[in-house]
């Protein structure tokens, strides 16, 4: 079982999909939470 450049290319796409969806979910979760400084001020 040899890993060719095609396997690596497909893996880069896969990594980009998993990475993007995970990071966007993280950013959305962060954006949804009320900022700490506002809560302290309020």
């Amino acid at each position: 079982m040899t890993t060719t450049w095609v396997h690596w290319l497909a893996f880069v796409v896969l990594a980009a999909l998993i990475g993007t969806s995970s990071c966007q979910a993280w950013l959305s979760a962060g954006a949804g939470a009320p900022p700490m400084i506002d809560r302290q001020a309020g």
Partner: protein, 303 residues
């Protein structure tokens, strides 16, 4: 001046001699690692465990913001991706074992294909619930993930391979080899728990003999009938003895027990070596008979 192997009173198989100098200890047979494949580490498989990490942070962020359902969905997506990453590694090991053997059946559970499905589900859930995209986008991401996963890691082997695959004989050979491999793996794992270097070395040598025998059966499945006694009686004996010794040696702490176990390993090794010799001798006899028959036929044709 020739090199001398380092060893002493407390070295495995070492012997103390006067003046503190060490006697050259007996070297383990070179065939100890014969028939064993070096384990392969695929970086891609390891990266799959790291890439979903932001989903954990997303879950923590959602819990902090009071969005419990969002946190739950992030965790489900994370779990699906991690389970998929683990299945890929299992599938790769199964494929290596399949590739290494001449007679093999496909894995019973299609690990890599299921892993692709889990990765697709994980990404789909993360995009829809975590990122907040619409359903069509989430399905598109999931489909692309499944395709990229299959293109990168491939699918599981689907067909049996070997000689006369559809015969019951080949099935029996594959079955016997599977069972023998499983017993070997259990013996190895039981030996590791002992933490005894001499026993580990002796067991490794014994297993190398057994693997040699298995390789011979793979090359010529007719040998299975001749080697059945070694696989059914001796290998099962080695497996049982190792398991029982591993379970009881600490509780009983009897040095005689260890000596008896080592003696048994020696006897088993000698028995497997005899079996291998016998198979080689039988193969040789078969070949001689075939050559003789062919020569007679050629003699008749020319004469």
């Amino acid at each position: 001046m020739s090199a001398r192997r380092f060893g002493g009173q407390f070295s495995p198989k070492g012997h103390a001699v006067k003046g503190g100098a060490s006697a050259p200890s007996s070297v383990l047979p070179p065939e100890r690692f014969a028939g064993r494949k070096a384990s392969q580490v695929d970086v891609r498989g390891l990266l799959l465990f790291i890439l979903p990490a932001p989903l954990l942070l997303a879950a923590i962020g959602n819990i902090g913001g009071g969005a419990i359902f969002g946190a739950l969905m992030d965790l489900v997506a994370f779990a699906a991706l991690m389970l998929g990453a683990w299945l890929v590694r299992e599938g790769q090991s199964a494929q290596l074992a399949y590739d290494a053997r001449a007679v093999a059946r496909p894995p019973a559970f299609p690990r890599k294909t299921v892993a692709a499905g889990l990765a697709a589900a994980g990404v789909g859930i993360a995009v829809f619930f975590g990122w907040g995209q619409d359903l069509i986008t989430a399905i598109g991401f999931a489909a692309l993930t499944a395709a990229a996963h299959l293109a990168s890691f491939g699918t599981d082997p689907m067909k049996s391979k070997g000689i006369d695959l559809h015969t019951a004989e080949a099935e029996r050979v594959a079955d016997a080899l599977d069972k023998a491999e499983a017993k070997i793996a259990e013996i190895e794992s039981a030996t590791r728990t002992l933490g005894d270097r001499e026993i580990t070395g002796r067991v490794a040598t014994l297993l190398a003999s057994i693997r040699d025998l298995l390789a011979m059966i793979e090359k010529d499945p007719r040998d299975l009938t001749r080697a059945r006694r070694y696989l059914s009686v001796n290998l099962t004996g080695a497996h049982e003895a190792t398991r029982k010794y591993a379970e009881n040696h600490e509780r009983l702490s009897d040095p005689k027990l260890r000596d008896d176990y080592l003696a048994l390993l020696g006897e088993l090794e000698a028995s497997f070596d005899r079996g291998r010799e016998k198979l080689l001798q039988d193969d040789r006899t078969d070949l001689e008979v075939e050559i003789e028959v062919l020569r007679e036929r050629l003699g008749q044709e020319t004469g």
